[in-house]
């Protein structure tokens, strides 16, 4: 690093210290946030539910009692028993094992979809908020156009073009959530770019990219984290809806949405088939909503009193 660069670094660091409230969280404060989150009972319940689903998804091959795609014609549509705790489906596959492996699909789709939305949304929001003018006007009007579509309808339109499948479902869901992240990022950038430390960095000769990356972005992370946790919940619902319609995850890969759809046709023979898939979706969404609400309370002071 040249001496000019190190001077710039020192000046920007000095500028950042002008407003300690907007600084990126140091490790100790990050731990404080986690501690505050865990003090709230609702957030703790949400965290535990999410942790259970993550463990199930990661260790599915070890935890699941049966192969989720192994067909067994001898035990078709069995009610719950000691061998099959949640019974079996129309092809004799163990419902519990399919449910556990389904957690993998839901988790994977929501992580990839939200990541797509987060990356694109952050870039669009950062560039439009930072540069303003025509760039902002064009970018935000495009986001308005995307927001004019109900989420499931836009996802369906994209999937009807790209074709059904898990990869395309991830892309479709990701595209749907871009405008929300872009708006949140732009809103944060508009506030942060007026702060003294950003002006100090600019005065010291820092480039736009450097300011955006080092001075602005770290101070816009909190609302993004809160929205991401709620977007995960929404992505799980949309993925399951697409799989329910047969446009998301394709058989024989286990998916909660597809199980829900298949199970409702055999509600008389094994009612737990459909109910258990719905309970899984509900619990995962509930856990993420509780965690999201808790994160909002901790990270956004406006919601602390509500």
């Amino acid at each position: 690093m040249s001496s000019i660069d190190s001077d710039l670094q020192r000046t920007i660091q000095l500028g950042e210290q002008l407003d300690p409230a907007t600084q990126p969280l140091p490790p100790k404060r990050r731990f404080d946030t986690f501690r505050k989150l865990m003090v709230q009972k609702a957030s703790l319940v949400g965290f535990v539910i999410c942790a259970v689903f993550i463990v199930l998804a990661i260790f599915a091959p070890i935890i699941a009692p049966y192969d989720p795609i192994k067909i067994d014609p001898v035990v078709i549509l069995q009610p719950p028993s000691s061998q099959h705790w949640l019974g079996t489906d129309e092809l004799g596959r163990d419902v519990l094992s399919r449910l556990i492996f389904g957690a993998r699909v839901s988790l994977l789709v929501s992580i990839v979809a939200v990541s797509i939305a987060l990356v694109v949304g952050v870039v669009v929001g950062m560039v439009s908020g930072y540069f303003g003018g025509k760039v902002e006007s064009i970018a935000m009007r495009c986001m308005d156009a995307f927001s004019a579509f109900p989420a499931i309808l836009l996802a369906l339109a994209i999937l009807s073009v790209l074709g059904p499948g898990i990869r395309n479902a991830m892309i479709a869901i990701g595209v749907v959530y871009i405008p929300a992240f872009a708006r949140i990022m732009r809103g944060s950038v508009l506030g942060v770019k007026q702060t003294e430390y950003v002006q100090a960095a600019r005065a010291a000769g820092a480039g736009d990219l450097y300011i955006m990356r080092r001075s602005i972005f770290p101070n816009c992370v909190s609302p993004l984290i809160v929205h991401a946790s709620l977007a995960f919940a929404s992505a799980i619902i949309v993925e399951a809806a697409l799989s329910f319609l047969g446009l998301g995850t394709q058989p024989p890969t286990p998916s909660w949405g597809a199980m829900l759809n298949e199970g409702r046709q055999f509600a008389i023979q094994n009612v737990w088939y459909s109910i258990s898939a719905g309970v899984a979706i509900f619990l995962a969404v509930l856990g993420l909503n509780l965690l999201g609400d808790g994160l909002r309370d901790v990270l956004d002071p406006r919601f602390r009193s509500a």
């Binding site: 308005d144 156009a145 499931i152 309808l153 994209i158 073009v161 829900l260």
Partner: protein
Amino acid sequence: MAPYILRRLIQMIPVLLLVLALVFVIFRMIPGDPAQLMLGANPDPEALDALRTKLGMNKPLPVQFFEWLQNALRGDLGTSRISDQPVAPLLAQKFLITLELAIAALFIGCLIGIPAGIISAVRRDSWTDFVTRIVGLVGFSIPNYWLGVLIVIVFSVRFGWLPPAGYVSPTEDLGKNLRYLILPAITMGLPIAAEQMRFLRASMLDVLQQDYMRTARAKGLGQSTIIIRHALKNAFIPFLTITGLQLGYLLGGSVVIEQIFSWPGLGWLTYQSITVRDYTVVQGAVLVGATVFLIANLLVDLGYIYLDPRIRPK
């Protein structure tokens, strides 16, 4: 008021044009050739060429867009490949069916959500508040399609009280129409009630802490007058935002519920058209869904003006 409405309508035009452009781009992104996709594998070359000419696909892309735009603005959204019917009247007919379901669902949502939200806020930290919040959180997290499946299992499969799926036009038999309407309307209405309850509770709590509420109490107004005349009217502004969005979603995005209950509205038509690759219909349905969503947002803005004189244009 009229100039404000006009200004808002003018502001909607660029967004609507972008929506049109977006719909056009999405459906031109079909890998390969849409005409070939419509006709399936190994199509007859003459039929393929005829379909391309019919769809105007031999022309340059900008020309195709402006022709499509002109037709769309005139209300001509093309012809369905499957039924060979003009798409616009088909969508109008399906939209009315969806509108009936959306209004019924919103009615159920408001019927439960508004009183629950008010009671929960007024009796903050009581048992009523606790139970209402738990029920609200559960309702907010339940995917409505699962709720639909559960409702069908309980009320149709187990008890046989109501038909599990189907539709009868109200002009044909109003009684039967209502019997078919109840289950999908409840399925869509309950999560709406939960969301409304959460929003109304939060905004009521905010309003109840304001100084003018203390003044209203100090001058001896009754509890019901304070709640209805002072608190509710102010708390309704954020509530209106969420209700407008919900109406937009109900009208444009009730695909799964319409599918579960075989309710032949816009969402049902969209899904059926996707499965048979009738892209002209899908394109039209997506466009209608987005336009309705924009109009719902406009109505919300106009609602703000009615509720809050401070933002009324001078």
